[in-house]
Symmetry: D3
Subunit: 167 residues, 6 copies
């Protein structure tokens, strides 16, 4: 058997927190590429709800059963991280038109900064189209039910942190 | 060396005719996946400007230098073709918001019809964003200059067919 | 008990054929308004796949269990039909941005032509967002599986008409 | 006379301040549903320009002549307020595509959190399409003329609060 | 007085028929540029409802009172017409997002074909946003009222042609 | 030679900092209108990265070779500035759909506040479509390469200010 490629894909994001929509993208990307790195991008300007190490931990618990996925974090330009990891592919999920425009702009910018990495988009599954980390936080912090919106394995931790109580 | 995956991607379209925008997507997809099949989808309802065999021939000339690309044609559902070829990935290029909506709808439909194949989107390069087969035909059929819009190797053939004269 | 309103809503469309997405809108609208008329609008210019009487029949079978729904057909302007039926509300389902723009234009036009009727929009359920009559016909006519896309009670009739065979 | 339905609609928003665009939606919704509650949603994160009680007061003055409209305020999830008031319908006005995407996301989320309430959208009248509370505040705070943008009955109060002077 | 520029603008379109929305764009463009040519572009593929000479005549009647406007027609590429007339500017009206995408594509294409002419966009007035030639024809051909949608001076002619009767 | 018009155009923006995309719009607008004023709009609410005088200085260096362009700054409503300068035209560049919606809203608002000035839109060149002041700042502040994104004459100043070092 001849192996033509050995591809590395990176899936960058805030994952603040990771949702079942993210998990769906992770599973599908992991089945297509040899290696997948899910990388928590930290941005000095944005004030996240969860710390970097909390977000990395939640991701590790979430993907524990997927063999070819690693979790990482990075502070800096995505194009620099792509270069550092020799990534072939940047993976992004698309939900809606407003997503699309921003993603398009970032894909063209990253291509200009580091042409060796290609951005590939997957469509979010229909049942996750309404889902985002910020909606999860908005609902969770007001005591709403977020079961089914976040991976089961981290549900209680998120509720505790957002709403300050054990369910 | 261990080879984890051996991926097959299909890039379906009308290619009526193939443009430099298509060629850009083909080159980039061919560098990411082990095998790439560019497939001319024929649709009984649409009246194309070029016959299926003309479109296949133009594609073959256009990709002659890319080793892992094959050209095919198919009349039927894309999901059935994906099943037949055991494709891991359907490749589509995105130019604009109106593209995006239609593509999103088709990606969700194909996922429902045949869940084993994933649709992946690449962004068109900025300089090809204005380009489409129909604009090429519109300009070419009125005697306008389409150099740089279509692959050089098929330029004269397209002009002859659209405008009925040797340049 | 005082009854302040007795509202009539109309839900116009081609219904060529009716899909489970349409049926979802019908059920939800029927629960909100006193009377709901689903009206097959005929348009001399468009060549439908099913005749008006076939489309009316499919709708009748589809809504047989919903008490406050009537089926009708009309050739002419929607604003005139709204006036004729003294409709309070025109119901339209929204799937995507491209839907939205056309629907917005029609709503403003109908408001100008007949200000007494208000257009109200419902969002399509997430699982029906990819669904349209034309996709059903495209898949069905190529022998694809349309179970789950159209109401069960009319599935066999549609397959027979589109694909010319008993399943 | 038989009364099939007795519907309650809620129209949530920031109303910071209420504009003639909001008033237009209120009038049209009040004519379609038996009861309409306009509810000022308070959100701990956003810093409004007007206090909750100011916003409630402005709304009360604005709708004083419409009999079946009540004004309320709520801190929490809209889905919880819908449940508490047994609302049949959530009313939202649509102006533009960017509105539409956010509204779509919220409608699907609210449907998931509390399936008994349906979100219905009205289109903003053409002459109010450019209008928003934030544009009113931007113009008013720089001393621009906002007559015709806000209900006459609250115009002077808004100017005094935004620009700090009697007109 | 020194005259730095003497600009020629062209406003291309089908004008099948001219609407009050077109007239609004014409008046505003004529006030900004020294010379304005409104040009009926003919396209062999599209079957128009009015002949070229009818469309030119309707435009001439419509703009009779605006001194610096001329009416012309052209069969061919817009870029070639721009070159022939040494136009500085192509004028296009924008109504909505779907307009915008197509217009953007055409502007970039025309810039590539003939870089000396710049495409400038005006926004349609809010009250004309719902208006298009095809809506006028749809309403008019079914006997609906199109007063206020088309210039008064050509209203009767349009009704006669579309509906085949004197009003 | 008769001079029919003597037009003044204003090109408002934050220019925080000016990019090659802005410069492209300035050159093209300057070739179409007799006088062009590029005006730095200051907004008390937004915290800019560069002071008003820095932004004015960068613009002056950038347009030093274009004779009919002046640089100005203004705190207040754009409609008031248009009135003060008797501007015929407000120039805005359009990149994408999300731009378009906001710009459309502002154009209609400005038209209502001061009807004598017309907003005209130019399309950004394809190669600048991914470019914005905020992307320049994001890349520059993380030490990325912004050559080709900002005018050469101000590149070193921007790097020094954003990244705090001489390149």
């Amino acid at each position: 058997m001849i192996c033509l490629k050995n591809t590395t894909a990176i899936y960058p994001g805030s994952f603040d927190p990771v949702t079942v929509g993210h998990l769906d993208i992770i599973r599908r990307a992991a089945s297509l590429f040899d290696n997948l790195i899910v990388v928590v991008m930290t941005n000095a300007k944005k004030a996240p709800s969860f710390t970097v190490s909390e977000r990395v931990d939640m991701l590790k618990k979430t993907v524990a059963d997927i063999p070819n996925v690693k979790i990482d974090s990075y502070e800096g330009l995505l194009a620099d991280y792509a270069k550092k990891t020799k990534a072939d592919v940047i993976i992004r999920g698309l939900r809606a038109v407003s997503d699309f425009e921003y993603e398009f702009q970032m894909a063209l910018t990253n291509k200009k900064l580091y042409p060796d990495t290609e951005t590939l988009f997957l469509t979010t599954s229909a049942e996750n189209m309404y889902l985002s980390s910020s909606i999860v936080k908005q609902i969770g912090s007001m005591g709403g039910n977020i079961r089914g919106f976040v991976p089961d394995v981290i549900h209680d931790f998120i509720i505790k942190r957002l709403y300050g109580k054990d369910e």
